[in-house]
Symmetry: D2
Subunit: 325 residues, 4 copies
């Protein structure tokens, strides 16, 4: 179950940074939904590297090819598989890293887990490149959600100083806020099937995410009940809250208020500066300056990814059966 | 899937605050594990109310009764079911809340979700009382983990002023840090089956949790890569990191360093102070002061619950098959 | 996942033949469904031993006690847990079987699987006694299905000569046919989520089931396409088939015709006649005549169990989301 | 979950008969397993049409292309995705079937399920063509199983008269027996996670399977306990049974004896002979003779498919964690 999420609609991601292709199988999409591929491409282009000074110089067209699941651009109820070719690969950048794990990357634990058989090229399956198929999936789901009146947006609310970091061969992180409007009240299952549980389980699949908080989040821990509780009020027939410290979800279930959560993105672990690590071949410590092509800051590129994963989870939540029995 | 978590060993929680009993079914425990019921009781007593000035006056003995799964106190491979009677119930406290949702509680979204059929007494299935069976489950798992050399501890790292809050009829929250030592490197599946994903999905099942962060967490977003990356070093045969900003998990997989994460607990939503809400029976706004018996601050009682859920997830992770094929 | 089935509504069975109690947790029932407990009891009484000459002399009242999930006999959306006490236990009957596996029972493979820690009393968790909570669950689901116009019936279509078998200390088996009427067309997911897949996966959880066939089943293998294909016809607005060799399901999806399948029940493995087995304590072969209290033929008692499991699976299928999005 | 099976290792199948490609994602394969692609191709060639007089004239090279999951032909722990192009498609054969469901096919229930949006070309996702990626997956798993000493074989044990059927424009079915040798005792979970449950759930994903029986199967229903029970005996250190009516599995768990089961395959529903069906466009009954290219009997082609699915399920069973904790 490593590379899959979702209950009613499932998203199975495959591929490695330098494998022939990467992609996703989406199983359980409702039939009859028209998918505008230009919109999908536009969504994916937001993630693609190369548009910002903070981005990696690696260039990939990231044009998804749909192998199945659509008939004349309309979902047919069969699993939708989309693949994206890897073209601009420089595997030789990585061979020297076979026995030298990069600090801050998953190289070492994956080496242990897979007994040295993991794909070391570009981080393999743990690469941020795997967020490209996530964006494809999210772009598809967002179109379906939009028809139900649900709109998503993510934005950077905090980010380090990219220019200074680039100048010193360093990297920075940041915080992204996601918001979804138009969700009906009553989505989400109690306890472990709640909105937070399912969103968090999926969001931590985005590389570099180190935390997630809903509504007031960690700040809530410093508030009093009388401050944090959101008073209910009536707006015509609608039940609303005067404030939204709860972030649109109480007890795992949506209230109809905007869903709001934030995620913490760590600084890119690949940096040009020298770091201490170990050399397994020589069984000793060594110094490493990571070459290859990397982002100084991935936060801007994570914005559409966070939106995408959120869209996937929200569609999954909408497809829960019990509310509609 | 609402009230269940775990892949290899699953934990199915049942009960409502004022139902006859609450409990848990644990399916998939390894056979042959002796369970010391006194230790289990001692663990559960840490969660039981009444030991601190911040606690609810509700008194429950919280003595679990094991119906199945043990033979002479040893796991036999069959599902273990434990039940805890609800005895000190005052359902009459809640009848007036049928049409008046309490701010900060799940009353309103559950009313929508279950079309008014949800159990309103004491929060029903969404009550913090459901953490008692979680503590039972965690106490069982912690004993098995201890035999594998894995120790868990949770502690309060931040908490509001309980005395002042009690005096003003208000409530406070706090932050809890969990730490697990002795985990082998290589636990956790890539992407969506990682340690963070599975811990977060379970931890958000604890009522009042609003955020989770691993290692440096949100603070990582403000660090530079050169600060945040943990240098590797050799301690004899062991690979360690000089610092532990990564909190023991990289790319979803354990590194062998202590697993560290923090969770944000919101202030108890039940407060004596008057709040604004709606009265569905009269279709108008109204004022509410929540009666019944409540905790001024649940943070101390969540400490063993957080340990318990962590123990459950870590045992589940240990039982992943691939590492041992 | 050993003792659980269902996707939208899950059924977690617990208990052993001679544990304090057995039971089931049903998670995901729609809220607002009234459950008539007298009807449930009447359903369960059909399974209870003692009503037929072929039955075991063991007597159990089999009165389920609902611990959670109902409020005034109406489902509230929280998991429903029901327990049944084990009272008429004779564990001493089994002690001598600790090292001597009974032929035809799961004693030997479970001994290997659980390294000798399995509950040997009365077959432990593998006992037919575990079908009592299945009947409870099925009785609940059948009431909900009936309100949707879906009726179930199972019947014996083949059975050995019980009297002769009892006289010679032997046992017999038989074949049961299940039929469900009133199912809408379009239930079931393609490939591995189809009606047959999900029914078969659950039905093989009933002890002693050795085969399952849908519609014409194995006889279909001997028919020609022109004989086996069911011609479509119109009955007013309704699409029907002239015959029902397909048993109401094509490609995993219901057609609206009656769902028909048959299951093969092996002869009760516990027989008074002497059999050859091994004695692990002495590491040699030995002779065994199984004492205790057993059914000469369990087929009549499996009839309500088959109905029950079918009801559970059909409710689960009805709750699939996609058809109603 | 429609097109996926497996717990520890999962198999997600995608594609339609006339989509650009079909394929499978295998997630959870152990790392470090060398895969011989020539052996895989040889396995797939056994399923490919065109080698027998009973086969469809459709010609597909069925050369799988591995997009991910292998590094130098060795599994790397990341999901393995293989795709097979669809080349010899004649979609025009099917346009006239849009409103006229073929008897014995899933056309009608899928039309209802997917509100007319299903892919009608060649049966879409319900086509037997989807067994090609299953064969790929099975071929991979069989290589891993072989290294563990587990060998699989399937064979036809009953088949109709192909020549006569072809002559009369009709079709025939048959029965296939599968056998696996070398399985250790103790595989499989009790109740709903047993070998039969998991095999049946997967096997019914093969189009045209109408029944499955283990060991003596339906014949067991006609045996006495003294005949059907398999006596245990010792062969050196090994526990064996004198006969194998139980088919290698008792109570859902393997005994170490050969696993034996049989599946019933219905006659190919596509036949040249005229059949009665309905025309939804005209809302009346009509006559239909199915054109296109079809197999008179698919039983020989199902043989490797049954082996393949069995290999997948057995590898999944071997990866269950509890036995190795």
């Amino acid at each position: 179950m490593s590379s899959r999420f979702g209950n009613n609609v499932t998203f199975s991601v495959f591929g490695q940074s330098h494998s022939e292709a990467i992609g996703v199988v989406i199983d359980g999409l409702p039939a009859g939904e028209a998918i505008d591929m230009q919109q999908v491409q536009a969504f994916m282009d937001r993630r693609a590297p190369g548009n910002r000074p903070s981005d990696t110089p690696r260039r990939e067209a990231d044009v998804p090819r749909v192998l199945s699941g659509l008939v004349h651009h309309v979902t047919c109820g069969a699993p939708l598989c989309a693949v994206i070719q890897n073209t601009d690969t420089h595997p030789e950048d990585y061979e020297k890293l076979r026995d030298i794990p990069r600090p801050g990357h998953a190289d070492y634990p994956l080496r242990v887990k897979f007994q040295g058989f993991q794909d070391i090229r570009g981080g393999g399956h743990a690469s941020g490149r795997l967020t490209a198929p996530l964006c494809f999936a999210g772009a598809v789901c967002a179109q379906i959600l939009a028809r139900k009146g649900i709109e998503l947006v993510a934005r950077i609310v905090e980010m380090g100083d990219v220019k200074a970091a680039a100048f010193t061969g360093d990297s920075v992180g940041g915080v992204i806020e996601c918001e979804a409007r138009g969700l009906p009240a009553g989505l989400g299952e109690p306890m472990f099937g709640g909105v937070e549980n399912r969103l968090a389980a999926a969001i931590f699949g985005i590389p570099a995410v180190r935390g997630i908080e809903f509504g007031a989040g960690f700040a809530a821990a410093r508030m009093k009940g009388s401050e944090h509780n959101d008073a209910y009020r009536l707006e015509g027939e609608q039940v609303r809250t005067a404030t939204n410290h709860h972030g649109g979800v109480l007890g795992g279930v949506t209230t109809g208020m905007p869903l709001v959560f934030r995620i913490a993105i760590k600084p890119t672990p690949s940096i040009a500066r020298t770091q201490t690590t170990v050399d397994f071949a020589r069984n000793r410590e060594t110094e490493l300056a990571v070459g290859g092509r990397h982002d100084v800051c991935i936060v801007p590129r994570v914005v559409p990814v966070a939106e995408a994963v959120t869209a996937c989870v929200l569609l999954d939540l909408l497809l829960d059966a019990k509310g509609v029995f």
